[in-house]
């Protein structure tokens, strides 16, 4: 129980990732597959963000504006910005994958008038 509670953010991302993975592999509807793909990628983003999170920490800027009292000089005092920056790039990749996927789905729908994998496979025989 202790093991689950102290590491709850990891459990959340694993559960989300498995939901997405199941939707990508198991669902027969192409839109559901794409939704699964998004959940899958979001789970990984959550994982990265949670590794950088820190309770009560501030932004990694040495001197705050508006005469802020707290200066983030020691690593304990500020949140690690690198995972966030990495995830900005990963989000861009995710959005463009999503765009390509939607474009492909439009092409498929125009050609087969359906988005069910079984029906497309049936039509392609």
């Amino acid at each position: 129980m202790e093991f689950i509670l102290t590491k709850y953010h990891y459990w959340i991302y694993i559960v989300l990732m498995m939901i997405g993975f199941y939707a990508m592999i198991g669902k027969r509807n192409l839109v559901k597959k794409i939704v699964g793909m998004n959940i899958f990628q979001t789970a990984i983003i959550l994982y990265f963000i949670s590794t950088g999170a820190k309770r009560g920490a501030t932004i990694p800027i040495v001197e705050h504006g508006q005469g802020g009292a707290m200066h983030a000089i020691h690593a304990v005092h500020y949140v690690n910005p690198l995972p966030h920056v990495l995830m900005l790039t990963a989000i861009v990749v995710m959005v463009s994958t999503f765009g390509v996927a939607l474009a492909l789905i439009i092409m498929l729908y125009r050609r087969y008038k359906t988005l069910e994998e079984d029906e497309i496979l049936e039509l392609r025989k």
Binding site: M24, T51, L82, T89, V93, A103, L104, R124
Partner: protein, 497 residues
């Protein structure tokens, strides 16, 4: 570090040209092709220059924006990088020239977008090769893959569905790769490959590192179509336009193989995957199954392009086997096979492109008369096929020789036997095609065969010259492979193997 701009020019030139292509194409369509050729030629020039620099003064480090690693992104070019970069840039230039007529015939109104995606794909592949940063590699992997999905989707009926499947599998692979980068970052705090290989040895018993390694192998395995993860490949490469298959098939899987070599032998020290966990043993068994599976399923195909796609799965198996053997001869064979297989696949798919351009028939049983119709193309096809089988003067023989040698050095006699059996299977495969091309007319002549088809109708020069260059390359690199091994690959294999 170096201040020479060539490591970055390799990528920047095709990237900027990729964005210039739609602009210029909007103004004048005919200028796209010269722009693509110019950009790729500059990449070829820079990669050759870099190889000469590496051979002269050792590994090159280039700091992007002058930020020193591990904080900034660093491009590291050693013998392995430079070697693969030359393969990627030269093959893509040859394919760009050889597939011009195919593009004009199959995608007349999409030329501009095709060349834009073409350059983006090449940019991604070159970026994967030169970067020394784990996360940067992920970004380039996705650039190459996204351009690849779009390129494949413009093909014939069935291509969008094949591309969709490829995208699902490719995204899973890329996400697994990203996740393992995250795991390594959590335990080491670094994303730089050189830095990681310094920090990681103390953490080799950590479960996190173990999981990261497992995710790496599965993620990269998906991208390079290693056997149980290959399901997307045959459909995607069969339905793609001929120009696209000729570009994607020789390069994407080879670059995936490069990433695998880089991770197993540079980021992790060889003794991690050899002694701490039985990763290389598992890899070599998987590779053996891949080789047999690819060859046997290829036997059952009648579509020439689909048959070659299954041959490609077997070829990926060969490279993985070299990685899995993890001794000097085996890895030399694997790296040499990256070059040879890129050449062979480029040659074979260019010939398929020429056949499609001239007749549109890809069924193996409909290839008869082709030796009269296209004698030079078919001669080049035969040379390439002999190289895939592994007949001595061609380059395919030498990489297989090193692989067999590696299997014997590792005392894996079964692997050596299966390598020989796969050569026999390849011989059956390709002689089935060659028999149809060269000897079938004799049988049909008795029934008063169709004589009007025998008139000569060779592929246009712009296709013929690249095909002949590849065929000549296969013969001459076979003869020169001793030089290549002793001057380049010897330094690319890690010293402690």
């Amino acid at each position: 570090m170096t201040t020479s701009p060539f490591p970055i020019l390799i990528i920047v030139v095709p990237l900027i040209s990729a964005f210039l292509v739609p602009v210029i194409g909007w103004w004048r369509k005919g200028l796209c092709y010269p722009l693509v050729i110019g950009a790729l030629s500059l990449s070829v020039f820079s990669s050759i220059f870099i190889l000469r620099m590496v051979m002269g003064q050792g590994t090159i480090h280039y700091y992007l924006g002058n930020w020193a690693p591990p904080w900034g992104i660093e491009y590291v070019i050693d013998h392995l990088n430079a070697f693969v970069a030359i393969i990627v840039s030269v093959i893509s230039l040859i394919i760009a020239i050889g597939s011009k007529r195919n593009v004009e015939q199959e995608l007349p109104e999409k030329i501009v977008y095709f060349y834009c995606l073409f350059l983006l794909h090449v940019t991604g592949l070159l970026g994967i090769v030169v970067t020394g940063d784990m996360f940067n590699l992920y970004v380039f992997l996705e650039i190459a893959s996204l351009a690849g999905y779009a390129l494949i989707a413009i093909g014939e009926d069935g291509a969008p569905f094949a591309s969709f499947n490829y995208m699902i599998y490719g995204t899973i692979g890329a996400c697994f790769y990203l996740l393992s980068v995250g795991y390594l970052y959590v335990v080491t705090g670094s994303l730089n490959m050189g830095d990681l290989s310094q920090i990681l040895p103390d953490l080799y018993h950590s479960k996190v590192v173990l999981m990261a390694f497992a995710f790496f192998i599965v993620g990269v395995g998906l991208k390079m179509a290693l056997f149980p993860l290959h399901v997307w490949l045959p459909d995607a490469y069969t339905y793609a336009p001929s120009a696209v298959t000729a570009l994607v098939a020789p390069l994407m899987t080879k670059v995936g193989a490069y990433v695998m070599i880089r991770i197993v032998f540079t980021v992790f020290k060889p003794y991690f995957s050899l002694e701490l966990i039985p990763a290389t043993a598992i890899l070599s068994w998987v590779a053996i199954v891949a080789i047999l599976f690819g060859c046997i399923l290829a036997l059952g195909q009648t579509d020439l392009k689909r048959m070659l796609a299954y041959v490609l799965i077997a070829e990926v198996g060969y490279i993985t086997l070299g990685v899995g053997l993890a001794n000097r001869a085996g890895l030399t064979g694997a790296i040499l096979h990256i070059l040879n297989d890129a050449l062979m696949m480029a040659g074979l798919f260019l010939v398929v492109g020429a056949i499609v351009y001239k007749g549109g028939l890809r069924n193996i049983h409909q290839l008869r008369w082709l030796h009269r119709k296209m004698p030079i193309t078919m001669a080049a096809f035969t040379v390439t096929a002999l190289s895939v089988i592994g007949i001595p003067p061609t380059c395919g023989f030498f990489s297989k020789w090193y692989l067999v040698l590696g299997a014997i050095n590792a005392n894996r006699w079964l692997f050596a036997a299966i390598l020989l059996i796969s050569s026999l299977l390849n011989a059956i495969l390709f002689f089935r095609v060659i028999e149809n091309v060269y000897f079938e007319p004799a049988r049909y002549a008795h029934n008063g065969g169709i004589h009007e088809e025998t008139s000569r109708d060779e592929a246009p020069l712009s296709m013929l010259i690249p095909i002949l260059v590849v065929a000549a390359g296969i013969l001459s690199l076979g003869i020169l492979s001793g030089e290549i091994v002793s001057n380049i690959i010897r330094f690319a294999v890690p010293g402690d193997l």
